[in-house]
Symmetry: C2
Subunit: 475 residues, 2 copies
């Protein structure tokens, strides 16, 4: 290994995964954390595109990781299993045994703009894009997280958010910077979550709403002491008033974070001010559904109209959220075209359409890109559409995000059936499951002619509105 080499890791929130967030950047190498829910083909695509030199894997991901690594001729090193050796951190020993040269003296961090991580995220096209993050941005956003969440040396942070997801929104580094305690959770088991909260006096955690629903629906919540408040940074979707009420009773205080892999995680945040503690849950939900104000380390967060002018702070006029500054990625790896498109006019285009409120906060109302964010993970609409288009009965498929209280969003598929053909939801679901990761399979299907523009382009904004209505009706 040497400076600039890419080291891929496929693992849960284990101590080795945390250690990799330090060991890999410290030798000047680039950390590529891989979503553990991907299949070997998808992992292989990433290893190949990232030009990985090595894959580290935990026991749970061993099969997928080794299969992908073998296919791409990359070395795979598997962490010792907990069953064999408890909380093993002998990664470096293993490497030494395999005779891999770690030339520390040649590979220090020499430039704050050099890459620290390479995170693959689904964009509007089917293939995932490699987001290149630099040391400077990671440092600043980590510090921003400390300030945003009020972490200090007495804090204990519970790892319910996957570290592979955008380096845990930089909390992998933030918690250490604050001198706080990392409590690593290999996987999210609500019983274990409550036990660890009590055992370590957990003060902070981050997750998508889905994790919170799991906690609320688990019997172990009865044993949890609500007097010990836990600060929960939630991303991926706005909390409902019911969720807020239930969490409040449980002793969980919500912070709503908004960000993207391209922004090193959080770029805006919304919390309730002290005087808002007494407002009712519906009013709290209104406040917490906003994406909020600039994260302290985010240099520029603006909402621009088509003429690249800031929209008025009227809570109504829609514009696109654009970002600039230290905590914006360097670019998409080996994809100059996508990078240029994302940085049109020297600002990063999030594709999220928002309004500005008079209090300075922003609130997302729509999305201009074909992405569905489910359980905090990006899903490409187009990837699902491509799968559906292979079905002989499908003439035209359009997939959009439907709001979902648990997952934030789920894919909603609108299908125009070929003349003289017939198909139903169950058949298409099964068809998708064979071709897509389970979380990418649409939950709902709607059949009929799709709304199109004069030039024949599907009007997705109409379908999004339709999906919102249908989802609301289904609740």
């Amino acid at each position: 290994m040497q400076a600039g080499d890419v080291v891929s890791v496929m693992a849960g929130n284990r101590p080795e995964m945390l250690a990799a967030h330090y060991a890999v950047p410290m030798i000047g190498a680039v950390l590529n954390t891989v979503n553990t829910r991907l299949d070997a083909d998808a992992v292989g695509f990433i290893l190949n595109h990232a030009e990985s030199r090595m894959v580290l894997s935990d026991a749970a991901s061993r099969d997928v990781a080794s299969l992908a690594a073998k296919a791409k001729n990359v070395q795979c090193v598997v962490f010792a299993d907990d069953g064999e050796r408890h909380a093993s951190l002998d990664v470096l020993d293993l490497l030494a045994d395999d005779g891999i040269d770690i030339a520390l003296e040649n590979s220090a961090v020499v430039d704050e703009w050099q890459p620290i991580s390479l995170n693959y995220t689904s964009g509007t096209t089917g293939d995932p894009k490699g987001v290149v993050c630099h040391h400077r941005g990671a440092y600043l956003n980590s510090i921003g997280n400390v300030l945003a969440l009020g972490l200090n040396s007495r804090s204990a942070y519970l790892w319910t958010l996957p570290m592979f997801h955008c380096n845990g929104w930089c909390h992998t580094w933030a918690v250490t910077a604050a001198g706080a305690l990392h409590v690593c959770l290999d996987k999210v088991d609500p019983g274990v979550v409550f036990a660890e909260i009590a055992r370590h006096g957990v003060t902070h955690m981050s997750c998508a709403p889905v994790v919170l629903y799991m906690l609320l629906n688990h019997p172990a919540r009865e044993g949890h002491d609500p007097a010990r408040r836990v600060n929960v940074a939630m991303g991926g979707a706005a909390p409902t008033s019911t969720l807020i009420n239930e969490l409040d009773a449980l002793g969980f205080d919500l912070t709503h974070l908004y960000g993207l892999t391209e922004s090193f995680g959080p770029v805006t945040m919304q919390t309730l001010a002290e005087h808002q503690n007494s407002i009712d849950a519906a009013a709290k939900a209104v406040e917490l559904s906003k994406q909020g104000v600039r994260h302290i380390s985010a240099s520029r967060v603006r909402v621009l109209d088509d003429a690249a002018k800031d929209v008025p702070a009227d809570g109504v006029t829609l514009g696109e959220i654009v970002l600039a500054g230290n905590t914006v990625m360097a670019g998409y790896y080996r994809d100059a075209e996508a990078t240029a498109a994302a940085f049109l006019n020297d600002v990063f285009h999030t594709g999220d359409m928002a309004v500005r409120h008079s209090d300075g906060s922003i609130e997302i109302k729509d999305r201009s890109k074909d992405i569905i964010i489910s359980g905090g993970e990006n899903i490409s609409s187009i990837e699902i559409e491509n799968a559906l288009h292979q079905h002989p009965a499908v003439l035209l498929a359009a997939v959009v995000a439907a709001p979902d209280p648990k997952w934030g969003e789920t894919p909603y598929a609108f299908i125009e059936v070929r003349p003289n053909a017939g198909v139903n939801s169950e058949e298409l679901k099964a068809y998708c499951r064979e071709r897509l990761a389970p979380y990418k399979t649409p939950r709902h299907f709607s059949f009929g002619e799709l709304p199109k523009t004069g030039t024949g382009k599907v009007q997705k904004f109409m379908l999004r509105a339709r999906a919102r209505e249908l989802a609301a009706g289904a609740e």
Copy 2:
């Protein structure tokens, strides 16, 4: 005013002083805070050397500031007095009345390395040196302070440390970055300090030991609730075990900070670990007398021997503390020679001689520069010696720092009297008071032949040891 202009301020810890820390840098101008204890000549030197465009002053410093400003032909604007208008923040109104052009559009901060402040500090030569601090360093050290002290949005910071002193060690910006409350104290009155602590729920303050002695000796301490802990960041001198015990009973927890104006304030820190809370006061004093470990935003803190090699971590071998990284000044303003000397071999030389302990902390044992740090302020030995040398009875004067539990250090003067002449302590004290600010006047005088090297140079290290012994005997 425009970018690059120097704006001098001579004021106590008033809201206007805090506002100046934002208003001046935001237009790209450079903030020059002036010690309010200086006389008009010393202030005039600074205005002239800094090429100030304007002096802002509070009512208390009006006479000195306006006298100095007039002598140097610089405009002087005095804040409205509290007596006239409460907590007035109408500085900009006043400026507008005077027709001064504040061209905001021409003066944003365009480069993170551009100067944010210019702080004059006494060095080894008589004339103060202008320390140029940049935005980048101020940003990072402010964030470092937030992390070091655990400031958050529920913190309340009491301003007992002068803001004019190295921009209040960057706390002027740090407290705001944490979203915490600034409690401005125009001057340190122990009764008011206790009242403000209770009124605002103060959680943090910073000061030199002298302020803590004032608090401990004031009857208002009886009304203070020790259950409400206050984190006190102390600089300028190590706390004695007596002080630690008394402060503990008062509910004050100590953090020992070490730094210089040239390092934007704190560059190392020492706190007690949780398991050390139960050790006795003498052992705590030993721990807290160390300068400690690297402040999180300090890039490099090393202790080097004469061959520029790190001294071993043996707690014995003496070397000079040298600094490098983001939180080191750009240089001394208009003094290339002093800057080059300070940055010999590309590291900043503090002049402080220290040992490294096996736990990674450093501890200062001596000083290679002729500076006395009294009540947190630098005093030049040479400036005092120059004054003494003008007395007809003085053949040779050597002034060194003597340890003082209240002030940290006080000047100790060793005098070799001219043959056939006679003089005593009282006479020399009175002589110094006429020529120096009161805090620069030596507390102690010792008469006799001075120890010299073969080439006739006074051996100050011997005098320092002598002063330590004499000070210990005097207690």
